[in-house]
């Protein structure tokens, strides 16, 4: 099982909460005021940070999916 981060940029409102929770996974586009997903398949060490970034997105623009390779 590995975790996939699914990001819907059209829902993103630029709060940057995701970046603050998991700077390893997210970057931020200051021009367009939007999050940028850097890591779609974070490894297990980053799983809890990925979960935190999904929970803390006030715009519900982030989902996680478990996938079996």
């Amino acid at each position: 099982m590995s975790v996939h981060v699914i990001f819907e940029p059209t829902k993103c409102q630029g709060y940057a909460n995701c970046l603050i929770e998991a700077p390893e996974i997210w970057d931020f586009d200051e021009e367009n005021n939007r999050a940028v997903l850097r890591l779609t398949e974070p490894d297990d060490a980053l799983r809890s940070k990925a979960e935190a970034s999904a929970r803390c997105c006030p715009a519900q623009a982030i989902r996680l999916e478990e996938r079996t390779p």
Partner: protein, 396 residues
């Protein structure tokens, strides 16, 4: 444990419900909430939703079917009025009782109402959707909005109203907007932004009295002036909603007094969100955090504690406020007594770091989200201020 009751149908409560099920609890799960609405998110109420009108679907924390899917029984529109922790019963305001084995207190905060607003029907609050709908409706006729209280919610509402074309005056006894929380430097920066947008900000000024005059209100100031308000918003802060706990044995101070795990003084009872006061291991400080992300994380943590985990809740608090194009993000727990260093200050961007006893205690970034992630880590690691200032750790 057969039945868990969550009191408070909002952000901390919903996250507690979700975590309780995620951890495999398959007994009865009941949500008691005094508002008749399904749980919704509050930050837009002073921002987009106040500008554009309320869209319940957009504000909903979870889709309407989610509660049934999770096996949650809803008791909305009922406040808990009492708690008997010996027999483990919650008393509701209609006189019915609800037995529990485990209880989550998530009643959040309610808006503070100064005594002078008693009997003034024109004075509006801004805490829930109904408040926001009323304030939004009052914008329709334009005119003059007076905001009493230059805290985050007052200043956000002022910015939103100004954008909608109203004349806006803000009154506060403090020397600068939001300065109680963030100090004068950041306050001054925001004062300038608001004045540039045409908001009149009367700081170091108190309200001496309110008088209704038809649908208008006369606001008498301590400096002798009188403002005539077509709409009046009173936003002078919030207090923990704990009155229903009196006599229950649950220890209450400013908030529900929790162990580091978010367990309360009574077995089988935990607390989370705006209502909870606990000692945060990151700084060793006792705190009650009235911000969004804290309610998410504490709701989950309190659920885990209720189901038998024994981990302390530690965090570097985080919040945001949006006013015009200024997106402020704050990490840590700055107070107006901390030493402030301004790293960047121009018309669009502000970066300020706060130090207490030489260590980085907080940071404010306006329109500088990337610096924030770095600073949050530096706070968690207990970094000395000089290592941050002028070190290149934070690019200007």
């Amino acid at each position: 444990m057969k039945r868990i009751v969550v009191v408070g149908g909002s952000l901390a409560g919903v996250n507690a419900l979700e975590e309780i099920r995620a951890r495999g609890f398959d007994g009865d799960l009941v949500l008691v909430g005094s508002e008749p609405h399904l749980p919704y998110t509050r930050p837009p109420l002073s921002k987009e939703a106040l500008a554009d009108g309320i869209d319940p679907e957009q504000l909903a924390l979870r889709a309407p079917d989610w509660y049934a899917e999770q096996g949650v029984t809803l008791r909305l529109g009922h406040a808990a009025s009492g708690l008997d922790t010996r027999d483990r019963v919650v008393v509701l305001d209609d006189g019915t009782t609800l037995a529990y084995d485990g209880l989550v207190i998530a009643t959040g905060s309610s808006q503070r109402r100064p005594a002078m607003t008693a009997g003034i029907s024109t004075a509006m609050d801004l805490r829930g959707v109904d408040d926001a709908a009323r304030l939004h409706a009052s914008f329709r006729n334009g005119g003059h909005l007076v905001v009493v209280g230059a805290g985050f919610i007052g200043m956000e509402a002022a910015a939103t109203a100004r954008r909608r074309g109203l004349d806006v005056t803000v009154v506060d006894i403090a020397p600068y907007p939001m300065s109680r929380a963030l100090g004068p430097e950041v306050g001054r920066w925001f004062l300038r932004r608001h004045e540039d947008h045409g908001v009149r900000v009367l700081c170091s000024t108190g309200v001496a009295g309110l008088e209704e005059a038809g649908h208008r209100t006369r606001v008498r100031l301590t400096d002798g002036r009188t403002l005539v308000a077509d709409a009046l918003l009173v936003a002078v802060g919030a207090e923990a909603a704990t009155s229903w706990l009196s006599g229950s044995g649950v220890a209450v101070g400013d908030g529900v007094l929790c162990e580091p795990t978010l367990a309360t003084s009574v077995p089988g009872v935990v607390a989370a969100g705006d209502v909870a006061r606990w000692t945060n291991g990151t700084s060793g400080e006792s705190m009650r955090v009235e911000h969004w992300t804290n309610a998410v994380e504490q709701g989950r943590h309190a659920a885990a504690t209720l189901l038998g985990e024994r981990r302390p809740f530690t965090s570097v608090p985080f919040f945001w406020t949006d006013q015009y194009d200024a997106k402020l993000r704050c990490v840590g727990r700055p107070t107006s007594e901390d030493d402030v260093e301004i790293l960047t200050d121009n018309d669009t961007t502000l970066v300020a770091v706060y130090g207490r006893r030489g260590l980085l205690s907080g940071a404010v970034c306006v329109n500088a989200p990337r610096q924030l992630a770095t600073l949050r880590r530096a706070i968690a690691e207990g970094t000395p201020v000089p290592d941050v200032v002028g070190s290149g750790l934070v690019a200007p």
